[in-house]
Symmetry: C2
Subunit: 320 residues, 2 copies
């Protein structure tokens, strides 16, 4: 009998590599796919020797190549669930180059959905984002909040992906999970505020230039807690369509706080300079917070705060 393997895309990325590590500890078998564009081999080098781990470098925007590979793979193994984490995670970049979001965020979803249909894969888990909500004036975002008018191509292509997955559920998938992430911090992050600030911190200049006026206030979650939350929902939700905001209960921390904390932690003597504009970049949602009532009702009361997550993530980095 063919053994069941979990397919995880974006496997060498920040979330994919950590999720694989988690599942391997649970003795699950993983097929990791990554085009190694944003993902890096060093993120999975500790996994490669695990006999339950298969890795394939593949560009899933090319349907025929994906199909060819999956067809062969399924002669020996069975896939019941796809965890689709591959995406262009650089939101800033997407406003300049929309094709990056189109190809790497949307087309990857579209192709995987066609694969799921063709090979009767039953479950589809998707890493969506708070960016699908656009800028709803800092209301507490519920899963049912609307209208969904994203202000970045990143958010638009995450929303497009949600739509095509939802439609596939009506037609052939058995269960879908759509997780709307907050900002996720921790290692080995490939993008985001801590990553950006750290790169700037390493420069010789004694000035640390921060994007936006520093008053942007968003919610953050540490990767460990994010994975725990995703797996909790996956294991406990009985709904066919499980749409969940994942994040802390607080109303976030400011960019000002994060900048000061990172300078302090790395013991750098730098002057922090902010811009005048309220947004960090085109498509930035400067303030957002989640209602996590749905998650709590399912039985998961997230205890860690945005502030704790940020401090934990910076500590991880200081140790490295």
């Amino acid at each position: 009998m063919r053994k069941t393997v979990i397919l995880i895309t974006g496997n060498a990325g920040f979330i994919g590599s950590n999720l694989s590590r988690f599942f391997l500890k649970e003795k699950k078998k993983i097929l990791g796919i990554d085009n190694l564009k944003l993902g890096k081999l060093k993120n999975i080098k500790d996994l490669i020797r695990n006999k339950n781990y298969f890795f394939k470098r593949l560009n899933i925007t090319n349907f025929n190549k994906l199909d060819f590979f999956i067809k062969k793979f399924l002669k020996s193994y069975k896939i019941k669930t796809i965890w689709h984490l591959a995406a262009n995670s650089d939101i800033k970049d997407g406003s300049e180059f929309p094709d990056n979001d189109y190809n790497n965020t949307f087309l990857t979803t579209y192709n995987l959905i066609k694969i799921a249909k063709k090979y009767k894969i039953e479950e589809f888990v998707f890493s969506s984002s708070s960016a699908v909500y656009g800028d709803l004036n800092n209301i507490k975002l519920k899963e049912s909040s609307g209208p969904l008018l994203p202000i970045s191509n990143y958010g638009a292509m995450k929303l497009a992906s949600e739509g095509i997955i939802s439609s596939a559920k009506e037609s052939f998938l058995k269960k879908i999970f759509i997780f709307r992430f907050p900002n996720v911090v921790g290692s080995p992050s490939t993008h985001g505020i801590i990553h950006d600030l750290l790169l700037k911190l390493r420069k010789k200049s004694n000035i640390l230039k921060v994007l936006g006026n520093g008053k942007q206030k968003k919610i953050y979650m540490h990767i460990d807690d994010l994975i725990e939350s995703m797996v909790f929902i996956y294991k406990n939700s009985k709904e066919d369509v499980s749409l969940f905001n994942i994040g802390p209960k607080d109303s976030g921390v400011t960019v000002n706080f994060i900048s000061k904390e990172i300078v302090r932690s790395f013991k750098k003597n730098k002057k922090i300079i902010f811009e005048k504009k309220s947004k960090g970049w085109t498509g930035d949602v400067a303030k957002f917070r989640y209602s996590t009532d749905k998650l709590k009702k399912l039985g998961l009361d997230v205890k860690i705060s945005s502030k704790q997550s940020i401090i934990k993530a910076i500590k991880d980095l200081v140790k490295m």
Copy 2:
């Protein structure tokens, strides 16, 4: 000075041809583009002789061809507004062949948005659909209702298009209009219940087989009223992002009513047979109705009901 022309895609289709006729009466200049896949030349044959009307057969899923044409056209004319009506309007077909929705509904939007960016076109008007809401259990759908979990690829690709237009507004468009249509009836319709039933009515059989159990209850609007509503919003809304449900105030009419009305109007002696299932097809939202408060607040109180719209549309056909 270059004269301003309105670009209308899906121009030889049901709504595009009627909208062009409307604008031409207002002495506007129109550039109509259509691939003539679902649209038909006979729908615009009365427009061709109008000196304010330009028609170009073009497949806008091919960005390079579209770009080549628009670049040449803009040497002589100016485009301020795109009315993007091109889409795969066959919802049923989309669950079987998702590529039709992907190419004709989403990729057309994506390419036009790139054109708008490249040539600094300021306004984008989009024909969206109630299908973006998915099946929200027959609540009165407001523009802010959510979650948006479409159950057809048609709805998913309309939602994807909304997202990319919304994101483009943040980055370069000046004004966007997203109109969520109800079912639209009238001539020369290329799809929909009246169209389907009429085709069946012409068959020799003395039985009229109807999809679903006949209890599906949806709202309908006659094309004349739809165009009046769209133009009203376009002229009166001061918002940069104008998202509006367009439809009647009632809770709809049943498929049973429409079937009987069409048999009666065409004086055919046919026995109407329903199926057992509550939905007409995979992806069908069997019941839906709109809150039209936003439209009313803007100053448009839609008087015509779904029933009147259906009767008017059938009368149009009987006369033909």
